[in-house]
């Protein structure tokens, strides 16, 4: 409630128009169908069950309209939620920790990326996937730089964005990326947005 009103205030200031607000998961589905918004922003935990109602509502909406841009906010990091969201369609999906709202500029930027068809995964989620210990870890063969590139790929950044973030030439990013693909055994032909799912699926194994 507090969260919802705070968010409405902040987003209106940032230039968004709030088409509608839902009290619970059922209402969220209903209103999203009715209002056809440009973006659905949902908390994973919602009434009535306070379990993962929000996520299930969003997945239902995505099943009806796979290109509907959605961002799901979570109190905590859960790898499985990210995978499920990406499996509902790789474009226009975001999974962020609630606390990201505090950094409003980044948050608004992420919202725009999702509306524009991009993918946004919380860095904490990605870090947890990459740092997760596995028997016979294939990531052990990656250099530090390659790991950074892998993490940003998983977060949904484009090669251009990665180059800018890491102060590299885009060519070097492409080179690092192909090395990562080779190391992980992922088909390089998967380009663009599809690579996030490939990477995340790989990391979730």
């Amino acid at each position: 409630m507090l969260m919802r009103e705070g968010l409405r205030l902040v987003l209106e200031q940032a230039g968004f128009t709030i088409a509608g607000v839902a009290e619970d998961a059922a209402e969220l589905v209903h209103r999203a169908r009715e209002l056809q918004p440009d973006l659905v922003l949902a908390d994973i935990r919602m009434p009535p069950d306070h379990t993962d109602d929000g996520l299930r509502a969003v997945l239902r909406l995505r099943a009806e309209r796979p290109e509907l841009p959605v961002i799901v906010l979570s109190q905590h990091m859960q790898r499985r939620y990210a995978s499920e969201l990406l499996e509902s369609g790789e474009r226009s999906v975001g999974y962020l920790l609630k606390q990201r709202i505090a950094d409003l500029d980044t948050f608004v930027g992420d919202m725009h990326r999702v509306v524009d068809g991009g993918t946004v995964l919380d860095p904490v989620v990605v870090a947890a996937m990459i740092d997760r210990p596995r028997p016979g870890d294939p990531l052990a063969g990656l250099t530090g730089r390659q790991r950074e590139v892998l993490a940003l790929m998983a977060e949904g950044r484009s090669n251009a964005a990665i180059a800018e973030r890491l102060h590299l030439a885009e060519k070097s990013v492409v080179r690092h990326a192909s090395h990562v693909y080779a190391q992980l055994g992922i088909e390089e032909s998967r380009q663009g947005h599809r690579r996030v799912l490939a990477v995340v699926q790989y990391l979730s194994r």
Binding site: H76, R79, R80, Q99, A102, A128, R132, P133
Partner: protein, 572 residues
Amino acid sequence: MAAAPDTMRSAAPSERTAGRGRLGSLADALVVVGLGALLVAGTEIAIVLHQGGQYAWLTALFPVVALVYVGAGLLAWRRRPSSRLGLLIVLAGGAILVSSLADLDTPATGAAGAIAQTVVFAVIVQLLLAFPTGRLYERAERRVVAAVYAVSLLLQPPAYLFAPDGALSIADRPDLVDAGLEVQRAVGAVVVLATSALLVRRMRRARDEQRRVLVPLFAYGIFTVLFIPVSSALNDTVFGGSTYWLGVSQLAVVALVPVVFVVAASRGGFERTGDIAELGAWLGADEVARPGLREALAATLGDPSVQLLFRVPGEDALVDEHGRPAVVPTHAGRGVVEVGLGGRAVGAIAYDATLLDRPEEIREAGRVVALALDRQRLTVELRASRARIAAAADDERRRIARDLHDGLQARLVFLAVQARTTADPSAVQAGIQAAIDELRALVEGVMPAPLTERGLPAALEDLRDRLPTPIALRITGLDHRMRPDIETAAYFVVSEAVVNAVKHAGPATVAVSLERTDDRLRLEVADDGSGGVRAGGGMRGMADRVHALGGELAVHSTAGGTRVRAVIPCGS
């Protein structure tokens, strides 16, 4: 009366626990009997002393001896309600009281006294043959007892019917009195010999540990039953016809009889069936009214220091009735006998080995009460685990309060100060971010969000993601959610076991497997670390949780690794 303090000590607790039940009312009845005897004896003594005479004080001693019988009998009765021994000793005291009536100068009392004159002798014979249960089991014994009562009651009449005076005298015929006395003595001699023969036979048949008790008792008994008639018969030659010395010596011999019986009875174990019958009676008694198991065992074994010890899961040592580990100092003369039920150790009985060093007997008593002991063990276990669960909840609250107070609150206070003083909002924002992280970690520790949101598999995957050691997770049959209490218990068992392993045992891998069948959730956490995990500590709390759900938890730890297994019933 060496046995008396002992007897009273062991009787005292049973009175407290018995309350107003069966034993309470028995105790009341015994008090009434005792007071009645005291009243009669007091009256007799007062009248005898008032009447005066050369041997008035000696005559007054008979009621005193009667009181010794009644007192000793009441103690024995109270101590072993299912034995008739106490009753018989009290009856013997009563017989002496009645026979003492003869010394009062009234026709009625004289008559009663004259009839009951030698009954005490018969009761003593019955006491000896009926030791220790108070019952006669063999036909020979019953015949001898019948004969001795015949001698004392049916062969007595000539002595008072043909006496020179007295209320019952019908003729003064000293010749008939003498003839009657001859017959009584002759038949009496046969009965005494038969009694002695039976007692000697029993001593010879007895086991060694019984003989220890039986020999002194029966030896004294045979001496008594021989001494009374023989001393009477030989009065003229031995005591020079002095009724004074005859009276004193017979009184002394008779007075010692109840003392000897109570000493023998207090040494316990003289007749195994007697003891077991006592415990059997206890088992059958009303549970609310009967004294505790420990008190019953203490009374039966004649050892007030008897202790009950219990074997509870997750505890290496035996525990006492409060669930605390019990230390039994065997060097200080304590013996311990294990009690098993259906091949599984349920507890032990600790006893004073200097007082009664007969482990076989205690083992047998243990077999009789094994079920009751096991039940008490369950109560002890339940009480202890409840206490631990409550304590664990309190600890958890304290920890949360401390984390909130020392961590989050301190951080927020600092942020409030910083927000006033600093010109840099990003520092404040970073502080708020840290506070949020801390709050999330705290909530996560109390109840992991994925467990609430998605159930066990998601929560365990999440747990795996957060640990530095590779965890192999194998989950089958968990497509549907289970009851929250089962999910929570299973989650915390796995997380406790996994975190323990990662923290202390330094394993290369940890394998976690969960399998749900129709009505059971089996879980196992196995690592290849250095082992040394004990069932206590955090694992104990987990075991309590599992037990509370009707499940079982086992920890098996060796140098090659640790394996924690739990089964939780989850029939839907």
